[in-house]
Amino acid sequence: MTEQFNLLSGALQEYARILTAEFEKARGSEWPEQFNTVISKRVIGALLARQISYAINVVLNIDLWNHQVGPIVLRPMMETYLKIAWLLQDPQFRCSGIAIADLNGVLDRVQKLEEVAKTHSQDVSQATDLVPLFQNEKSLFDEKVKPIMIDSRSMAAKVGAKAIELYRSHHIFLSSAVHSTWNHIMKFNLARDPNPLHRYIFLPMWSQEVHLDFGYALTAAMYAEYTFAAIFGESGFASNVSADTLVSALENIGALRRIDHNYEED
């Protein structure tokens, strides 16, 4: 068991190393002309860094490979991909718009926090100390650009194609876990009481034995691949970090086996 675990750990660490290496290469490379401005590279580059950070975290953390907590980290990955894909459609304008909106939002929240903190005698210096950073950041963007507030669904709709497919396939499942809605709780935190005298009530249950699902690691790899592909195209960085790369690595150590759908018995 230890040997198998070491093999698995080695394969996952190798994939994480590839992710980091491809990110380092990408940030030092020449970006496509339409994104190659200071503002676009700043915002999209940082979001790419975030996406790869998440991907590494999911791939290396087997405790996330289950329906209980995996979605909590995968949903931000889905949103980050949609955000990047949407920003790339009009990078200069949209990067400025979304950054200004977020910075306005946080400055507003800090101000409200200060007012409320006075009545509740709470220390909010950790938040207020960041105000100069946010104000300085705002000055980097064109003040004539209007703040843009947009949700993931709208981003996916504007991007279309793969983004819509991803949104429709994943969003509800991941969001239900993040927000702990009834459709998630009922499937994963309750079990039907077999006693008919209890009218089949649903009992709170909690099993520490969790079903490991490689799909979480593979989906994280897929999001990383799609994100690289959205910025740099499908060849190069994206193909080096593709989900197939991870699948092949896991196949090589016997952790996964492809099912040949065309297999015919003799």
């Binding site: 580059g45 429709r168 702990s180």
Partner: protein
């Protein structure tokens, strides 16, 4: 309390804490008499408590998650659960139904999404049938409405105000930037030098911080306390104190070393 910490050292702390939470959970649930006339209340409130325990202990058992990258995501999810639980408790019969119907509506949306993908690609997703059967086991699809906006019809702030959950609302709202990768959050973590206009993006080394574990444990303790208050049980919750003792021992062992 200051720490010098390693991930390996904290694994046993997380596991021991998790065992203590399980004990508290089993005590509380086994001592809660099922009211068959309010079966939905039992299922929803018990389910929310179970969910909170799962999130907290999954976090505790994996020290690699105790970082600025992932901890905010877990904490925000937990803050939402406790606000929901407390708000539902104020008028359980009505609000439990709202909670359930909203969730079923979400399932219907998921099914419709999958059907539209099936139409587009010309083949059914593998799990579409499972989703349909699951929904049908709860409520016929034609009677399942889809609700837009929040499940309660209120903002989280209003729910927190009504249920006296100001601190949890602060936690929830302050972590929104991390959860949604807002620029104010991303620029702090993923730019080498945010004050430099030409700063390179960076994958930082995320330091492990056991204070995140302490906060999740506190939220879980508060969830348990709200739950036993709702059910009218006179029960003690031990897991939080167990964790604090474990961390003190760990810190002392580090100092001795």
């Amino acid at each position: 309390m200051s720490f010098y910490f390693t991930a390996e050292g904290f694994v046993s702390v997380g596991q021991s804490y998790s065992d203590a939470v399980r004990q508290d959970f089993e005590n509380v649930i086994s001592n809660w008499t099922i009211d068959m006339s309010a079966a939905n209340v039992y299922s929803v409130m018990g389910g929310l408590l179970s969910r909170q325990c799962v999130i907290a202990t999954s976090f505790a058992r994996s020290p690699a998650l105790w970082t600025y990258l992932t901890a905010p995501l877990f904490l925000r999810a937990m803050a939402e659960v406790i606000i929901n639980l407390r708000w539902i408790a104020l008028d359980a019969e009505t609000r439990v139904r709202q909670f359930m119907l909203y969730g079923l509506g979400q399932e219907r949306v998921a099914i419709e999404h999958q059907r539209s993908l099936a139409e587009f690609f010309g083949e059914q997703p593998a799990n579409l049938k499972a989703h349909e059967l699951w929904l049908r086991s709860q409520r016929h699809e034609i009677f399942t409405d889809v609700y837009l906006g929040s499940w309660s019809g209120k903002q989280v702030k209003d729910m927190a105000d009504e249920s006296n959950s100001f601190a949890d609302y602060l936690l929830y709202t302050s972590l929104g930037s991390a959860a949604h990768a807002s620029w104010d959050h991303v620029l702090q973590l993923h730019l080498e030098d945010p004050s430099d206009e030409n700063s390179q993006p960076v994958i930082p080394k995320f330091d492990l911080n056991p204070e995140f574990l302490m906060v999740t444990a506190k939220v879980l303790r508060d969830t348990f306390l709200s739950f036993v208050s709702f059910t009218g049980q006179a029960m003690q919750i031990f897991a939080y104190d167990v964790l604090m003792d474990l961390l003190k021992e760990y810190a002392k062992a580090q100092d001795d070393d």
